[in-house]
Symmetry: C2
Subunit: 576 residues, 2 copies
């Protein structure tokens, strides 16, 4: 009979119990990793205090209802992960595990069980463990819905799943059950995380019990910035892989910005031709398609950002008459620098429309991020330019804020008329500057840091906009020491507002801006810190105490490291 | 005729001139790398505003006075570096460079010169450049002193060297001149740094002129901590390689500490056998010898640290009766924890003596680091222990400080009697606690951070002790943004004191403590930040302005990256 204690409670108890605080030195308590605790924590998990001995390399998955190429592909990757896991401890597929019996503490009636291992255990004075039915290393993948060819993950995809391992109504069986392909992906990942190598027994264990899991938020993103430093396609794929391990589902690609324009546009090849750092520091047509496909196969949406009218300096290299010419106040002549997009010219809007038409065609996600942040840096330039001055007079406006508003409103109108009919996300600045946007606009809150964003979230949602939070999840702001708890403990609903307002919260994004990050340190610096955000966005609101999470984080860090990703230490002294 | 402007001035002018500040965005000015500027900056460099075109893969070195296996080995490595450099730009050894002429602006009389490249240059309206004599890709390595087999670098080694490339008295010749093997090493490194790929000309350039160089300080160290996290031998070797590129000459190996004991002692194999994190997370006899030899061949001393009487928790696993048993005040019984080494037992000192005897035998450097820091963490334990109490009564002492003093004085006495007769370094705590040490003790100042160490340096040197500074060079304390300037601008002589006191300053060490650093992030996090310390310790005191150094740092970072080391960005947005 399975324990009926609430999954959450059990998870917490298990976590606390396995945390042996060895005071190694002032300030850095020793963190003992948990064993087989999934990250992010499932919504509900009734896990038994018992386990199977398994050989990860021998596990097989059987799709018993629907299947498709994408699911088979995900299963193939999972098998590889399990084979690598086995190999990392010298266990090969051909070799039988020393025993395949459970260590159940509840089922006292025994069957067989004369393995050397168990004799050793008894010698050590451990309680005699009884076996449950054999697990034949066969895992059933039951996907109730169909999966079509090349299904795209979306803002409304269904990611819920269940896992049952040796439950009373299916003794000896392991099942991953979902309605959708996306749920199957998430379930396969969780399943692999239930397997761990027990140093004590010198064997792999598979935990037993029931998991019912679903995300708290639909939008769980990570933003990378490929303009300030170029990131290779392989770095981006490594990030996507790690995102999938953490159940992130949105890759927000901050494609271009002031320093460089690495996105190869078919419509305007000069943009990257002249605006990229180097000819080889670009994302070609194939690269972009490759990244989108890689993400799709992991249930991750790719939301591209084309930030205007500011943050566009690199566009100027490959496009004439697009940026505002800045004038010297004293001489009344162009000063040789350029500002935001020139809002006075029809050609500017035609250019942006054609570029966005291409982007929204090549990126299949329904959403595009339109930026709109920090335009104020360009205000002096706008106001210095005689054409802008004349245009302002014509429109009867007198401030740079109104220029910004005029640009943004025209931009939003043209976006709505694009053939792809995209929905859009904008940075909070647009709303802060009182620019009227469509009610269905998603507002991305990024200012205010850990404590200052709550008022903004209240304001944005009270205006009826859906919201994404990033303020407290700027991973680029590194600190000395254990800093993931500050990300972990930022609760996105901690703002004043009605339930209706809170229902407008779609989720959030961890942001890794690129000022100091390139291929050399992207992975080690982003991870496992981003995992803290992943759990906040996926798991139940109550799973919120970093001290409780610490041993699970320690295990998770080791898990990511073992999978071949150079993710940095999470908690201080220790080893994996 | 060579320019006679002071080398330093020229270096500074060149640096300033090549720094094009492109304001890419608020806070992060664009940094244009210099071309062929060595790091750390040579003491004297009269470089001509002209250069040779060279094919790095074709450069050969000829030893024309003394040579030996070590020098040939260093030359072999330099050749490999140059071949790799050539290959990174698609230039092969077999191919002739498009032209091998100088771009001298001074020598107007010409020879030949009809390369396509130069025609292109003229087309671009550049001043017609005249050629100087051909450089036949032969570089003379003139080492005046003998180099014996297996010479060990030492605290008094001679590292000075000169480089002459196409100077008036040797037209068309390139020479690296030194008195010693160590100078030859440093000169070879600087020589490679005078070669750079010119994007403008699509070819490699070799700068011309005279360099006379020598270190400002004899002790230029980097400390790694292999106890809080284990570091692989290959990570340590990568660090040594990068140290050599930056003319560091001391690897301070903080071998063991509270969390783990990875050093395999022949005398006491249980120390690592039970005190290491894992059986494979140790440094075997061969590993240690391998690391010392790798360092030796780059002119780097390896100074091991065996820190006592605190920071020894990991020793307890493999040695009984060595650590002080801590007692519970209320019950008067042992509380299950252990403190510093037990100072009351003769066996403690015998143990330490035997361990140090082994360490000072296996590490050939004349110096050993004896630690002695933060013993106060263990004071409550010492005072709780009845044996310590009885011992204190016997010695007629009443404070834990006096216990520490008694231990340290006995330790220092026994160290002096070791067969290897080592000299020693101690952390400042020992002197702070008014423990009388031998006048020839080297005191390592580590407290106080960027602003607080000056008083300590004054005190230590006024007591007549030689000193090493690390306070402002704790690289483990990471910050968001460009933080190398704070290391760069810490001037070790900025303390009150007489000239005699300042003459006691041997140099300094950058420290990378291991709380949050392991193989995943050691290289990217340590470099290029440590390079800032390298220049402060090698170059003239006047080379001290980080703004001036910035474009040189940018080039240097790219140089290290191009050599295959994943060193993180130094200055903000950009690319290599």
């Amino acid at each position: 009979m399975a324990s009926t204690v609430s999954s959450l409670q059990l998870a917490l108890i298990a976590a606390v119990c396995s945390c042996h605080l060895v005071p190694t030195e002032a300030g850095f308590p020793w963190v003992e990793p948990t064993e087989g605790e999934p990250w992010p924590a499932p919504q509900q998990a009734d896990m038994y205090p018992s386990f199977y001995f398994v050989n990860p390399a021998k596990i097989r998955f059987r799709t018993t209802r629907h299947s498709c190429a994408d699911l088979e592909d995900a299963i193939g990757r999972t098998l590889q992960t399990l084979r690598d896991l086995a190999a990392s401890h010298g266990v090969r597929a051909g070799r039988r595990p020393r025993s395949v019996v459970s260590g159940s503490l509840r089922e006292r009636r025994t069957r067989v069980a004369a393995s050397a291992n168990r004799r050793r255990s008894r010698k050590r004075g451990e309680s005699r463990r009884a076996s449950s039915p054999r697990l034949h290393h066969d895992v059933e993948v039951w996907m109730d819905g169909m999966c079509d060819e090349k299904m795209m993950p979306s803002a409304t995809m269904d990611e819920q799943y269940s896992i049952k391992i040796n439950v009373p109504d299916s003794p000896g069986r392991a099942q991953i059950i979902s309605d959708s392909l996306w749920g199957a992906y998430r379930g396969l990942e969780t399943f692999t995380q239930l397997i761990y190598f027990s140093e004590k027994h010198g064997q792999f264990h598979l935990r037993q019990g029931i998991i019912r899991d679903f995300p708290r938020y639909a939008h769980r993103g990570l933003m990378l910035d490929t303009s300030r430093h170029f990131l290779s396609v392989s770095s981006i794929k490594a990030t996507l892989e790690l995102m999938a391990f953490n159940k992130f589902n949105v890759f927000h690609w901050h494609l271009v910005d002031d320093p460089s324009f690495p996105f190869v546009s078919v419509t305007f090849p000069n943009l990257s031709g002249k605006g990229a750092y180097r000819p080889d520091m670009v994302y070609t047509l194939d690269d972009v398609a490759d990244i989108i496909e890689f993400a799709r196969r992991r249930g991750i949406r790719v939301v591209p950002e084309v930030d205007t009218p500011g943050h566009v300096r690199s566009w100027g290299a490959g496009a004439d008459n697009l940026l505002t010419v800045c004038y010297n106040e004293t001489t009344g002549q162009p000063d040789g620098t350029f500002g935001p997009l020139d809002p006075t010219k029809g050609s500017t809007y035609r250019f942006v429309r054609r570029l966005l038409e291409e982007v929204t065609t090549r990126f299949p996600d329904k959403y595009i991020h339109l930026g709109g942040d920090e335009v104020f840096f360009g205000f002096p330039c706008w106001l210095s330019n005689p054409d802008v001055q004349a245009w302002m007079e014509k429109l009867n406006i007198s401030t740079a804020e109104e220029v910004e508003k005029a640009y943004m409103q025209r931009l939003l109108r043209l976006v709505k008329r694009l053939p792809a009919k995209p929905e859009y996300v904008i940075w909070q600045d647009v709303v802060d500057n009182n620019i009227t946007v469509q009610p269905d606009t998603i507002v991305h809150v990024w200012k205010g840091g850990a404590d200052g964003w709550q008022q903004e979230a209240d304001k944005v949602t009270s205006l009826g906009h859906r919201t994404i939070i990033s303020s407290c999840w700027y991973l680029n702001y590194i600190n000395y020491g254990v800093d993931w708890p500050q990300y972990y403990e930022c609760e996105p609903e901690d703002f004043n507002g009605t339930l209706v307002q809170k229902s407008l919260l779609l989720g959030g994004e961890a942001c890794m801006w690129g000022e100091f990050v390139d291929d050399t340190n992207l992975i080690s610096r982003t991870w496992p810190r981003a995992a803290a955000v992943a759990e906040r966005l996926w798991s139940a609101k109550e799973v919120s105490d970093a001290e409780v999470a610490r041993p699970r984080m320690e295990e998770h860090r080791c898990r990511l490291l073992r999978r071949g990703y150079a993710v940095e230490p999470a908690n201080g002294p220790g080893f994996c």
